[in-house]
Amino acid sequence: MRSMVEGAPTKEKRMASTTVAEAPPRPPLAKRLQESRGFLSFGFMLPAALLLLVFLTYPLGLGVWLGFTDARIGRPGIFIGLENYEYLWDDSVFWLSVFNTLLYTVSASILKFMLGLWLALLLNENLPLKSFFRAVVLLPWVVPTVLSAIAFWWIYDSQFSIISWALIEMGIIDHRINFLGDPTNARASVIAANVWRGIPFVAITLLAGLQTIPQSLYEAATLDGASRWQLFRYVTLPLLTPIIAITMTFSVLFTFTDFQLIYVLTRGGPVNATHLMATLSFQRGISGGLLGEGAAIAVAMIPFLLAAILFSYFGLQRRKWQQGGGD
């Protein structure tokens, strides 16, 4: 319309328009910021970043800082360098808790993995009432830890334990089992409780992984002559590895930092046999009031956790067959 009214542009006009195109006037700062992708994405990330800073970075930083001070409850404390760590280095209870934590984490994780995988495979079959069983399996995970820990406390009670009672009634044993009073029994008992609680997470996550494996692969392998064990060995297991890696990394982290179960069941006893690093840190830092030393114990957990994460990141990251061209 416009060119029809004005007619063809003159030579001057065309020249003028080329100069304008070469050096457009800078739009105002506010407008430029509004259109800048970098600035916008920064703006959108700000709320999340703020949350992380306030609720994650600050407490973590404070914990690390406290580990270098002699703070007690009610006293700010001053910087004492590595003194807390030097003290812990010579503290046999601390080393016992490290041993306990590793034992607890390794044995509970292995059991959780094996039982969880077994359960996942069972639930993946065409059972009657399939969804009912899947829901039931989640129960231990849904119940608050403290509640289930109290239930276990009763199950493990030296006087009223249902296990002792049942075994005596069946005539298998003749005296009550001292579940939480004997160091070995206590360790086994807390591990069993942790396994009971952790299986649903492993089982349901692995079940989700199992369901991503196409049925036709099993059919193809069946026609190729695979037995049921070979189907598991050559199809299920390799295709499930990525999910197993992620699931077990999380499971190990949860187990390593476990606190509630031990605190309710044994408080670290008997004679520190079930003290984990987390419970020892709480006992020294909050109950004992030695904030600095408690913080140092908590900080000492970080290298182990980092090692677990790095192991899963480098050792179990995406396999070669998962990489490369899309579908």
Partner: protein, 354 residues
Amino acid sequence: MASVGIREVRKSFGSTEILHGVSIDIVDGEFVTLVGPSGCGKSTLLRMIAGLEGVTSGQISIGERVVNNVAPKERDIAMVFQNYALYPHMTVAENMAFSLKLKNAAKAETEARVQRAAEILGLVPLLSRYPRQLSGGQRQRVAMGRAIVRDPQVFLFDEPLSNLDAKLRVAMRAEIKELHQRLKTTTVYVTHDQIEAMTMADKIVVMHDGIVEQIGRPLDLYDRPDNLFVASFIGSPAMNFLHGEIGSDGGPAFHGKGGVSVPLNGAAGAGGGTPVVLGARPEHLKLSDDGFPVEIVVVEPTGSEIQIIGRTPGGEEIVANFRERHAFEPGQTVKLTVEPNLIHLFNGETGKRL
């Protein structure tokens, strides 16, 4: 290699019967396609031959052996799946060698057989790749390679080309056919695409709603369809159908809706007044002054031929193909006729060929 016999086979899922007594004889070395619309039971039948589905009643035999209760891996068959079903965590070579590995075959023999199959299919440069790194056509070839390595009695293909684009599909079609001519292994091939069925098969089995409509060689099915379903299913564009009855006033003739009249051969004039359906293939329609009138709706030039879609005075749709380059215009009325010996007549009630 072996023959495959399917006798009165029925299949039910729960109370729903989806195969109602199917009998097919497949000769040793034959290439048979099972073709039909979705849900006709063709894939189920194939999976029953493979042993992935049980047989409700009837009998399936491979060679001399009845295999109803034989486990899939004992049947000595190989199957190519629609989604290829390649093991994603194995290389091409490992995928192809998997069945031999399970049999604990000697390493040298395994390698030789994989190499031979890879050479046949042009997969040698891809042997160390993973399935994800392959294109659709290459994956398809690996799936076939996996079957070839087994050297089975029977190849089963379950719509193997339906995930490929049109151009690749035509190329793979020829490749599978060539492979069969080379290996001469009995093949059962399931497809819903009648062109695939026509071009590849020695023998076509047309299935519909769990029954076999017709079994025959591709051109026999095209030239002499047994019933309306086969007539409409085989051939593209599909056969034209005009509904009407046979009259015998002044020589046998077909009288359709809207005054359409087509002269018939003497023999076809059985029983005047019975309702019939007249079928005529699009390429058999010719321009003729004494034909029935058709008003052109759409003209579609394809280059090699001109296709018109039009309507008879009775409102029935007619598709006609011409090799000659006529100058048709939409809205124009042309007169079309069919040679009496190229006309297909079907019973208007039962749909059976007359």
